[in-house]
């Protein structure tokens, strides 16, 4: 254990520029993922986030092969697949099968592209499990810029989107444009997922996009509080994960997923003990 968690070494590492860049990237990602997660959970979109992440991986693989930035490749692929999923899956009954079909094909393409790539194998590994300390200033600019766009768009559509997410029939009757809100939200999730692929990797992005929201929903039904908790959980997971991984040779993602999972278990336990919500404070 002494070698795995050497905290004096970690403190030293924290003063390094690339580590600070990684922490900023993690904090921004935690904010975006934390805000989106309760909505993703309310809309039952866990599987579509998984599919979007895997296809963002294929986009990243294509970018590696073409020699362009992995971030742009992942982003482009995630946005395209988000639009396709949003348009094709308006009927709940066929949503899962459509996602499954596209996920399998997209992942196959990704594996092919990766096998054609002859560069550094750590780049390949990084796509799957993340390479947050490899985030440079241009990727950070992309990450921050995209995050601002996601949060601004979400602020505009937030209330009708939540209405349609939990109470679709009445929302449509009240004039909420559920059809295109579904597509817009899928694109927002796609962008956030692509950003996550770069940092925690496509295999584990769900630990930031789903788990914090699922955990928050276990302990409160207050939507504002659920969003705040979800952001806190996501930040603790990603920042904690980065700090804990620093003195080790292990990627950040196992730490992020472990912290996320522990938070989720704790929230389940709390939510199970109390049948009434402990945090149902009025807003």
């Amino acid at each position: 254990m002494g070698n795995l968690f050497d905290f004096s070494q970690a403190a030293q590492l924290l003063s390094l520029g690339f580590v600070q860049t990684a922490l900023i990237a993690g904090a921004v990602l935690g904010l975006v993922a934390g805000v989106l997660a309760p909505l993703i959970v309310a809309r039952n979109m866990a599987f579509s986030v998984h599919a979007t992440a895997e296809i963002a991986f294929s986009g990243g693989a294509a970018a590696l092969l073409l020699g362009i930035s992995v971030g742009y490749g992942a982003l482009g692929a995630a946005v395209i697949i988000a639009i396709v999923l949003g348009l094709l899956s308006r009927r709940d009954t066929e949503r899962d099968s459509v996602i499954g079909v596209l996920l399998a094909f997209g992942l196959g393409v990704g594996v092919l592209l990766l096998s054609l790539y002859t560069g550094r194998s750590s780049n390949k590994f990084g796509l799957l499990v993340g390479q947050i300390v490899g985030v440079d200033s241009s990727s950070l600019a992309l990450l921050v810029g995209s995050s601002v766009v996601v949060l601004v768009v979400l602020a505009v559509i937030y209330r009708p989107l939540r209405f349609a997410s939990v109470d679709r029939e009445v929302a449509i009757a009240r004039g909420v444009p559920d059809g295109w809100l579904t597509v817009v939200f899928a694109v927002l999730v796609g962008v956030a997922t692509a950003l996550g692929v770069q940092t925690v990797g496509s295999l584990l992005v769900m630990s930031l996009m789903i788990t914090p929201g699922a955990a928050a929903n276990r302990v409160t039904a207050n939507p504002v509080l659920a969003t705040v908790l979800s952001v806190v959980f996501a930040e603790v997971a990603i920042i904690g994960g980065i700090v804990l991984s620093l003195p080790t040779s292990v990627p950040v993602s196992p730490f992020v997923t472990a912290i996320s999972f522990v938070i989720y278990l704790a929230c389940r336990a709390i939510g199970g003990v109390r049948t009434t919500p402990i945090l149902a404070a009025r807003t």
């Binding site: 209330r159 939990v166 449509i172 009757a173 009240r174 039904a221 049948t275 149902a280 009025r282 807003t283």
Partner: protein, 286 residues
């Protein structure tokens, strides 16, 4: 409990529908799905404050009628006006109580959030601003339907009857001129059936809201109903319950022998398979 009324009747007179205009008017209205005729040449005019029950077997187009009024389904022919306008999604003068669907326990939503959506859920933005005004309106309607006690509990953990009270509050918080209810009593016990239908009745008496109440079971609302629209197989009959709920009228509508028996203050329909049985939609053809 305070009376269910948001008290803007005066303000409404200026910009609302003409007082003499019916709350709902269908003229020569037909709805066909392909070759199937749900109803044909339907003329129906509902006055403000009137309580109209829409009855009929499954598949007779009761819910489709509500979809037409909500602007989600165009008529095949004929004209329709609702609350002073052509139907269109997002008509704020319409309150809508959907067919009961128990909300998922995992969804993070309190009773007051569900009700608040009825007030301003369609508006853009985060909803963080204007919370005080919304809170007052939501509190008032929660009190009116007697749901204050569980307003902060997760909706998914409430009973069907409690959820349905919240549904009524959600439909009323927008101060509607027309209230469209799709089987709002389904799967409720007798006490809750009475409580929910009384809430709707109070509203239409206090605020002159016209009520279209789709149901397969008229007895729980029989004392409240002004008129019945009875749909069967493309045919229909409109009139008071005393006119429509008779052996002669229903036998003619169903084109088979149907007996209508009054037992105490209940109406029992024998021979029309829909009576109290919505599990077998194909029972209807005699």
């Amino acid at each position: 409990m305070t009376a269910i009324k948001a008290g803007v009747a005066d303000a409404r007179a200026a910009d609302g529908p003409h007082p003499d205009e019916p709350a709902v008017r269908l003229s020569g209205a037909s709805l066909h799905y392909g070759r199937r005729v749900l109803w044909d040449a339907l003329d129906l005019s509902v006055r403000p404050g009137e309580f109209v029950a829409v009855l009929g077997p499954n598949g007779s187009g009761k819910t489709s009628l509500l979809r037409v009024l909500l602007g989600r389904q165009p008529l095949t022919s004929g004209t329709v006006r609702v609350a002073g306008a052509a139907p269109g999604v997002g008509n704020r003068r319409i309150g809508y109580i959907p067919q009961q669907r128990v909300l998922d326990a995992s969804v993070g939503l309190r009773g007051r959030d569900l009700v608040g959506f009825g007030l301003d859920g369609h508006r853009w933005g985060t909803g963080i601003g204007g919370r005080r005004a919304r809170r007052a309106a939501v509190d008032a309607v929660l009190d009116a339907v007697g749901a204050t006690d569980y307003a902060n509990a997760p909706v998914g953990r409430l009973s069907g009857g409690e959820q349905q009270r919240l549904r009524v509050a959600q439909a009323l918080v927008g101060d509607p001129d027309v209230l469209l209810c799709d089987e709002p009593l389904l799967s409720l016990d007798l006490a809750h059936q009475r409580a929910v239908s009384d809430l709707i009745d109070q509203r239409r008496r206090a605020a002159g809201t016209a009520v279209l109440f789709v149901t397969h079971e008229i007895n729980p609302i029989l004392p409240l109903v002004d008129r019945v629209l009875y749909l069967v197989d493309g045919r229909f009959m409109i009139g008071t319950p005393a006119d429509v709920m008779t052996t002669e009228t229903l036998s003619a509508l169903y084109r088979t022998r149907v007996d209508v028996v009054r037992v105490r203050d209940q109406i029992v329909v024998v021979g029309a398979a829909e009576a109290g049985d919505c599990e077998h939609p194909h029972h209807v053809s005699a």
